[in-house]
């Protein structure tokens, strides 16, 4: 496997792989996300306690799960970048962070818009909400740290260290609803055991999670390509690629 993977550490190969993946990721993301959202909004039955307000689940849960999933992916890239000193891995960290930040913002905002009608408040300083807010600040910190270095490889290392330290926050977010008394309800879907949600509500939710995951992947891949070009500006293949993309756009 290592022999097969190794060429993709080189920037040109990585770029080609991204270019091949991007159309599939984008198209499937749009189709699946649209299907899941429309299904959830129009066809899933209303909740017997929360009425139609529960439909916020179809954006809140996917974005919340992915805010943590994307962070794990970024942390893995950071680890690879620090241990094996791969330039492409630090570029991936820089590409993924803004995507994760937007997902975290969506999770927080939709949570507030759901909390107001159900809990009677937009925001409480409880464990789940506060740790998710810290996740947003971690993403912003990683982005700011990367930006603040002129030498992007140094910036990538600094941002990578911050991303790795921030991993402690992930289990805190996950278990916050069990460790502390909180307004936030427990997990709806767990890997083990039956989900506490009716199947006709669950299917569109799973589609939304998959669709948003694909969208996050597509955006990360696209941003990774841009970061690669920015960092390898003097390489002949980057210049050729820039000429090609520019003439395609005009």
């Amino acid at each position: 496997m290592w022999k097969w993977l190794h060429p993709y550490a080189k920037s040109e190969k990585a770029f080609e792989l991204c270019a091949r993946l991007l159309p599939w990721l984008s198209i499937s993301a749009i189709v699946i996300l649209a299907t899941g959202t429309l299904w959830g909004l129009m066809f899933a039955p209303a909740d017997y306690q929360q009425g139609d307000s529960f439909r916020i689940i179809y954006i809140h849960v996917p974005s919340a799960i992915l805010s943590m999933g994307v962070y794990s992916a970024m942390a893995v890239a950071a680890l690879v970048g620090l241990v094996w000193q791969l330039r492409t891995a630090t570029m991936a960290v820089a590409a993924i962070a803004p995507v994760g930040a937007v997902l975290t913002f969506i999770a927080l905002f939709t949570g507030a818009a759901w909390g107001k009608p159900m809990w009677g408040t937009w925001w409480v300083w409880d464990a789940r909400l506060t740790s998710e807010l810290i996740l947003l600040f971690l993403y912003l910190g990683v982005m700011a740290l990367y930006q603040s270095f002129d030498d992007k490889q140094q910036g990538g290392k600094a941002a990578g260290v911050m991303a790795l330290v921030g991993v402690v926050n992930l289990p805190i977010i996950h278990f916050s609803v069990e460790w502390w008394n909180t307004l936030h309800q427990g997990a709806t879907i767990t890997k083990f055991g039956k989900p506490s949600i009716a199947p006709e509500m669950l299917w569109p939710l799973l589609l939304c999670i998959l669709g948003l995951a694909l969208a996050s992947a597509a955006l990360s891949v696209y941003r990774f390509q841009s970061e690669l070009m920015r960092r390898e500006i003097h390489r002949p293949w980057v210049q050729a690629q820039a000429r090609k993309e520019h003439s395609d756009a005009v």
Partner: protein, 71 residues
């Protein structure tokens, strides 16, 4: 469909404001991220092409200098 009419759909059983606020802002945030990614890419392309032009000009003036020295 769970709703009898479009107006019922938009009302969301009285929770319309919160549901559409959540979905609207999420959609805007995603579109914003897509636009920003697109702009950033265009910026990178522009920088690369400008740098190429600059290198070309440097080369051109150098070869001119060499010719001038010979003459």
């Amino acid at each position: 469909m769970q709703f009898e009419s479009w107006s019922e759909f938009w009302a969301m059983g009285g929770y319309g404001f919160f549901v559409w606020l959540a979905f609207g802002v999420s959609l805007l945030a995603l579109i914003g991220l897509i636009l920003q990614s697109r702009l950033a890419r265009k910026q990178v392309l522009r920088t690369i092409l400008q740098e190429q032009q600059r290198q070309k000009r440097i080369q051109a003036s150098r070869s001119k200098q060499v010719k001038g020295n010979k003459a």
